[in-house]
Each structure stands twice: as structure tokens, then as C-alpha cells.
Amino acid sequence: MPLYEGIGTEKLTVVMDLGAAFTKLGFSGEFAPRHIIRSEVTLKGSNLTREIYSYVNGDDLYDLLVEFLHMIFFKYVLLSPKDKPVIIVESLLCPTIFRETLAKVLFSHYEIYSLLIVPSHLVSLAPLAINTALVVDVGYLETTVIPICHGLPVLHAWQALPLASQAINNKLRKHLHSCNIKISEVKQNIIDDIKVRCCFVTPQRRAIQFLKSNSQLNYCPDLQYPLGGTKIINVPGKIRETVAEFLFEEDNDHQCLSTMVLDSILKVNVDLRVKLAENILLTGGTVMLTGFKARFKEELYKQLNSSRYEKLKLSKFMFHSAPSKDNYTAWLGGAIYGATEVLGMKSITREYYFKESRLPDWPNMKDNSRIQ
């Protein structure tokens, strides 16, 4: 190992969680990320802002990541990346092209010393000091459910659907369009802000009422969202209260958030089902939406009554609350792993990377799943 930053000071390793909407940045051994920034870059000259996940191919992504990481290293974490170790928290379902390109940028462009990739669902359990739980990550592009049993992600039981923040934003924009002109020109971050500050997930009893044609129920009060000092966006109570309803409405394949959870449990061995149902961890920024967790719980119980899930024989769901804000639980897990010797033991070094010129698949899991 090289001397990171001179002698006598403790090693600081950058921990990054590159989400589709927000990137969490900080250092190993710390209790919270130092920055949460949008995963986007403003291209020089053109003033055009592009999301990292809007890449069209590997070369395009390479250039986007070079720009984005430059900003991360020199504007946020303030550290020369060359010859330093880096920890990436990444979903097990992350597209291979993203994973490979990110490694290529870090090793060949930024010449980092080593890279440790930790799977987000698994490390999310570290802040809780537990090793079995059902991890439900409601992110930006999609919701992913992966059970972790005895520290092992049960990959064949995974569930993923695009029921997440991006879909809420799109719905919100569409609904606002009907009562506001020129809403299509409003930037994404304003839509995000309206969602976070004005909207919420309503309790189940009201949602059921709203579906009835003779509903007598009044929606919550309308709101006027000020835009740029002079303009106003009207946010009707109906939109505030029901924009996220689709997360819990079964689609044509009879799938929604609650069925994802139960389907995932169904795919796991009988002996583990109760344990998983009684250890549910909700992560991702979207679960912070007001009323989300309460409704999520109600919906799980509702699904238990359907014949699909009779054989589960579950009676109770229990939820964890991590010592973090839900949007950085996975990052915190990475920061905890990064403070240990795992960094030295499981990292891929630059030397290895260029010899093999590819990443091993989940090298960290290789060891984590050793069976004796």
C-alpha cells in the first residue's frame, strides 16, 4: 500500500454511491456522507446539463463519468485521486456497462490505486449490525427488492420494477400540466421539489374511498407553489394526495410495490420467510416521502389477504429503522465496510485490473459467501 497522505494521519478513503438521481459522497469511517449531489454534469461551453444515466453508449458514458468524477474529486471531496483507494457502493442489478465503464474511468483516467465495489443491498445491513433482512430499495429509476440471508444476497429472489421517483415525477408533471400552462418548461429539480414539499402518500382508507365513484371525501387543501418570485404553480389537493398512488396499484401483470415484496419472500426457502417478513429494511430517497412507510405497511397486510399469498402463512411484518436518513443507508454501509481491513483484502488493485483488463464479478461477494 502506498502512503496515502503522509505519515501519522489516518487513511481516508472516498466512498461514493452513484445513484441515478443523486450521488452520495464521503469518507470511510464517517457517519454520514459529506455531500449529496445530483448525478449530472454541465458540459463546458454548451451549458447543457446531462444526467449521468442518460448515456447512449459506453464511450459517451466514459466521457460523462470523466467530467462527473472530476467535479467529485476537485469540487467536493478535494482529493487527488491518483494512487488512492476508492470504494463504490453499487446495486447488484447495476448494468454491466455502467460498472465496467466506471472502473475503466477510475483506473485508466484517474489512475486510482484500488477499487472496492460493495453491493448496496448487502452493505445496507451493516449500520444495523444484522445479517438477514429483506432490503427494499426505492430509488429513482426503479425499486429493487433483494433478500439478504446470513449475509448472502439471495439473487434468484430479486424483484425490480420501474416504480420509483422518476415515474412519480413524470406523473406529477403530467397532472400539473392540466392546471398549469408551460409546465413542460419547468426544470426537473423544481418538479422534484414540488414532489418533496407538497405531495404525500395518503392512507389506505382514503385511497379506497377515492376509487369509489360516489366518494364523498374531500381531497387535502390545494397549494400554490411559488416559482421564481413572480410565477405560481397550482398544485391541486387531488394531485398532492394521489400522485404516488400508482406505486400501490397492481399493473397488468398484477404487480406493484407490495406484491414485489411478497413475491420475493415467496422465492425464498420456507424456513426463512418469517424471518425476512419480520426484518424489512426500506432504503432509498423515495421512501422518505411523507406517509410512504405507513402506507407501504398497510398495503403489505392487504396483500396477505389475497389468495396469491395465502401459502406464505405470514401474520406480521416488522420494519427496521437505520441510524441514517433513508437515502444514504447504503452509503453508510459502504463507509463502515471501508473502515475495516476489507479494503485491503478485497479491493481490486490497478495492477490486477490491467493484467486482467476486466473486473471480477463481485469479488467482495466471493469471499463473503465462503461456505465452510
Partner: protein
């Protein structure tokens, strides 16, 4: 010069990495005699400083303070600087006749009027330091967990090392992500509850978190009470305090200002600095600045005749020599292997289709191109620094849409002489110019004429781009320091001109 700031960039040079940039965005490594740019040099943090109070923070201190200035604060509401304001309040003990009014300090944002008093932060008796800091409520528990994980992994490492000694290592590899199969899991499940491998040796185990049936309750008043958006923090305000993410404005508190960095840039081929700023935060000067603008002749578009497809027209370019040495400019085709470049259909040479995936090639380290030169900026290199990796240049993707008739003669550019700017005594140079080529000259500048022909198949509105390789004589002064004759090199630079759009016929 303003043209370089506001754009558009109408003349671009090809960096050695294959990117096209205006000359103001390029470096010229005097050691490799190659153009470099922000993309292909190695950036390094040179020094930390606070942008508000202009104090330098040594890197150890910056690290200790988590890259934040101890004295300056940002407004949690609008991210502008917070100002310290003094106020006079009555004495602590008003009964005491001798008591004098005290001075107290609070923080105020002059932009949005947010104040530390708004959120109940007590006024401070001293102007500097000691504003209350907020702690993470989970700190103790998280510290315990980190210690536990450290212990467990260390124990596992030792165990593994012992095992390695006995050479009884068993391998289990998973070829892909779905490698952890149901059968393996079943195998595991047949066994008693084996804890997480990380948790195995159990040196000291804090209690596992316990899941609860209850979740955050729905705030019922939301359904009937109108909300005041002014009391609810914006998403941005929440994320500016990532550890707390307050949802209401009364929970906002001042943010220690993040320090800024000065960066230095290093050539990846020879490890010399191409740019290094002065240490002082108030200085905008450089210790090392190998900007291409000071070494490579600058090309500007002087005028161009209306561009018509297939019709020859005249392009006047102005060259200026930024160096103290006379130079000679020769025109060469863009791609040296093509002799009859000018007469060919040029578009074929620069394929428009997708380039093959970016290849990373670690090239052999070239010895510094100048034997005996003092590697002055190499002295800053720390011992732990490993040699840089050279990434293979990408192909230049720019399509050329006009043929240029390359002049067969070359021309001289006189050295830059700042005094000549004020010399009205007329042109005293004694240069035999090819008058077909050179149309004007004064001190270190010359305007030359090129005949170009936009491609036949262009339509009205299509962009016309021409390019050539400019060969100039570069006098390297590094060797001159060692009392040798300055060495002269022929340096080739690919230059592209963006001339505008095709117009209709007369």
C-alpha cells in the same frame, strides 16, 4: 481575446489526445513537445484555502476540519456567505448599577435575511469561533458498530493467514452475478444459523438492531390543514445538510464553508507540471504555466469569402508568433500519409461512423525527450507516486467539408516584440515574401491567403470545416539554460477552422 471567452470557437487545435480545443484551453509540454489539455493531463490538489477569508489550510488541518473553514459559514437557506453581526444588549445583571451593556454576535445572511436568531441559536459573546456544533445522534452506536466490524474483519484476516500457512485454502468462485444459486443457499440453510462471515469470530458484538411493527405514522393534520411552504425546507436545503436533512426551516443551522482547492496539472507522459499555481490564495499567478498560447503560433480567421458548394473561395488567416524566436510556418496535409490529400474526397479519410470502443493501452514510458534537462517540477513528486498510465489517443472525429489548396511555399513569422506595438516607424522588416501567400505583415503577425473549395455535395446551411497541419519551428529554451545552443524543432499541429455555413448562389 474576448472571442475566446464568449465563443464560438472558430479555430481549434488537435490535442495530442485527439480532442479539439481552442488554443486557450491547451497546454504545451516543453519536455515532450506535445499539446496537452485538461482532459489528458493529471490533475492534482495543490493547496486548500477558504474562498471567503482567503486563509490557506494545510492539508492535515483541512482533513481534520473535514475540508471546511472553521470561521466562515454558508447560509443554510440560500448558500451565500453568512456575515457576523454585532448587537448590544443590556447587561447580564441589570440591577448592578456598574454593569455595562454587552456586545453579542449573531450570524446574518445579507442575501435572504436568514439569521442564527431565527432558529434559536444563542448569540455568542466572542466574534470568532465557538458556534454550537450539531452532533450525529447515532454517533455512539455507529462508532461501536465500526469497531465491531473492524475487529471481525481483522480476526477473519488472521484466520485466513493461518489457514494459508497450512495451505488448506479452499476456493469457491462464482463466475457471474447469478452464481449464488438456490442450491448453494439450500446447502446453507440445511446448516444451523450461520452468522454473516463478517460476524463469525465475534470478538465483541453490539446488539443487532431490532425491527419494529410500527413505522412513522401518517401526519393526519396534513389532510385538513393548509401547509405553509415557507416553513418547509426545499430539497436543496435538505441535501445541503446531508446528515440531518431537516424538513422544516426552524431546524436549519449554519454550514461551515467548504474550502476550495488550487489545482496543478501534470503531463502524464513525462510527469512534469504543465501548470502550477502560486501557493497564496490571493494570488492568481502561476509558478509554472506552459500554456500553448505562449508557445504555439495563434491562428485566427481574418476574412472568408461567401461559401458555396464546389466553388473555390479565398480564406485569409492571421498568424501570430507568441515566442521570442523567429519561426517559419509550413503547411502540410492533415494526415501525413496522404500525399495527394488536397485533391481527394477528404470526407473518406475521416470516417463519420462510430469509432471503435476506447482502448486503453499502457505505453512504455518514454525517457524525457530532452537529455540532461533538469526535471525541476519532478522534485515535487512524492515518493509514493507511481508512473502515469498513458491512454491511447482517440481518433479525431471532426469531418472536413472543404478542400484546401496547400501553399507550396512557407513564410516567416518574426519574434514577438512588445516594444514594436508602439513603434509607428513603419515596417522595417526585410523579408522576401511570396506575395501570393502573404498579404499583410506587421511585427510578429502575418495574414496569409488560402484557396479553399467547399465539397460539391454540401447543401445550403451545412457547416464548412477546413483543416491543415501547421508546421512551425519551435525553439526550446530549456536546453539554453545549460549554455548550449537552443535546440530547434519542427513541431506539427493540426489546426481546424470552422468557417460558417454554405450560402446560396449569387
Amino acid at each position: 481575446m474576448s472571442n475566446y471567452i464568449t465563443g464560438p470557437d472558430v479555430v481549434k487545435y488537435a490535442c495530442s489526445c485527439g480532442l479539439l480545443k481552442p488554443i486557450t484551453r491547451l497546454y504545451f509540454c516543453r519536455h515532450c513537445l506535445e499539446l496537452r489539455c485538461g482532459f489528458c493531463v493529471c490533475h492534482e490538489v495543490d493547496s486548500n484555502y477558504c474562498g471567503k477569508c482567503c486563509e490557506n489550510l494545510p492539508s492535515a488541518e483541512a482533513r481534520l476540519k473535514k475540508n471546511r473553514c472553521g470561521d466562515c459559514y454558508d447560509c443554510p437557506s440560500c448558500k451565500q456567505n453568512l456575515s457576523k453581526r454585532a448587537a448590544t444588549v443590556g447587561p447580564k445583571n441589570p440591577e448592578d448599577p456598574k454593569a455595562t451593556p454587552r456586545k453579542v454576535y449573531y450570524l446574518l445572511c445579507l442575501n435572504c435575511r436568514w439569521s442564527s436568531r431565527d432558529v434559536g441559536i444563542p448569540d455568542q459573546a466572542a466574534a470568532t469561533g465557538s458556534w454550537p456544533e450539531r452532533e450525529n445522534v447515532h454517533a455512539a452506536r455507529l462508532q461501536e458498530i465500526i469497531e465491531m466490524y473492524k475487529g471481525i474483519v481483522l480476526a477473519e484476516k488472521q484466520q485466513k493467514m493461518e489457514k494459508d500457512k497450512k495451505k488448506q485454502r479452499r476456493f469457491m468462485t462464482f463466475t457471474d452475478r447469478t452464481g449464488i444459486t438456490a442450491s448453494m443457499l439450500r446447502k446453507r440453510i440445511g446448516l444451523p444459523d450461520i452468522p454473516h462471515p463478517l460476524l463469525k469470530p465475534k470478538p465483541k458484538e453490539p446488539e443487532e438492531a431490532v425491527a419494529k411493527e410500527e413505522v412513522e405514522e401518517f401526519p393526519e393534520e396534513l389532510l385538513t390543514k393548509p401547509i405553509n411552504l415557507n416553513e418547509i425546507t426545499t430539497l436543496e436545503q435538505r441535501l445541503n445538510l446531508p446528515e440531518w436533512q431537516p424538513t422544516t426551516v426552524d431546524k436549519l443551522f449554519p454550514i461551515h464553508k467548504q474550502v476550495s482547492v488550487k489545482r496543478s496539472q501534470r503531463c502524464r507522459a513525462c510527469e512534469h507540471n504543465v501548470s502550477k499555481p502560486e501557493y497564496s490564495p490571493t494570488s492568481i499567478k502561476f509558478k509554472i504555466q506552459l500554456f500553448a498560447f505562449y508557445h504555439i503560433p495563434e491562428v485566427r480567421i481574418f476574412t472568408v469569402e461567401p461559401l458555396r458548394a464546389g466553388k473555390q473561395c479565398e480564406l485569409l488567416l492571421k498568424f501570430s508568433n507568441p515566442t521570442q524566436h523567429q519561426t517559419v510556418i509550413t503547411f502540410l496535409p492533415l494526415f501525413p500519409s496522404e500525399d495527394s490529400f488536397a485533391s481527394k474526397e477528404i470526407k473518406e479519410l475521416v470516417p463519420d461512423e462510430e469509432v471503435p470502443s476506447r482502448e486503453i493501452v499502457i505505453e512504455e514510458k518514454q525517457p524525457p525527450s530532452l537529455p540532461g534537462s533538469q526535471p525541476s517540477s519532478l522534485l515535487h513528486t512524492s515518493l509514493s507516486r507511481t508512473p502515469s498510465i498513458t491512454v491511447k489517443p482517440r481518433p479525431i472525429k471532426q469531418a472536413i467539408t472543404a478542400n484546401v489548396e496547400l501553399p507550396t511555399s512557407n513564410f516567416v513569422l518574426l519574434p514577438r516584440d512588445d516594444a514594436a506595438e508602439f513603434d509607428d516607424s513603419g515596417d522595417t522588416h526585410n523579408i522576401q515574401d511570396d506575395t501570393k501567400l502573404v498579404v499583410w505583415r506587421k511585427s510578429n503577425k502575418a495574414v496569409i491567403r488560402l484557396n479553399i473549395t467547399p465539397l460539391e455535395n454540401l447543401n445550403i446551411g451545412d457547416e464548412v470545416v477546413v483543416g491543415f497541419t501547421m508546421q512551425h519551428i519551435y525553439v526550446n529554451t530549456i536546453t539554453a539554460v545549460e549554455s548550449k545552443e537552443p535546440q530547434r524543432y519542427n513541431n506539427n499541429v493540426k489546426v481546424f477552422q470552422y468557417l460558417g455555413k454554405i450560402v446560396g448562389s449569387e
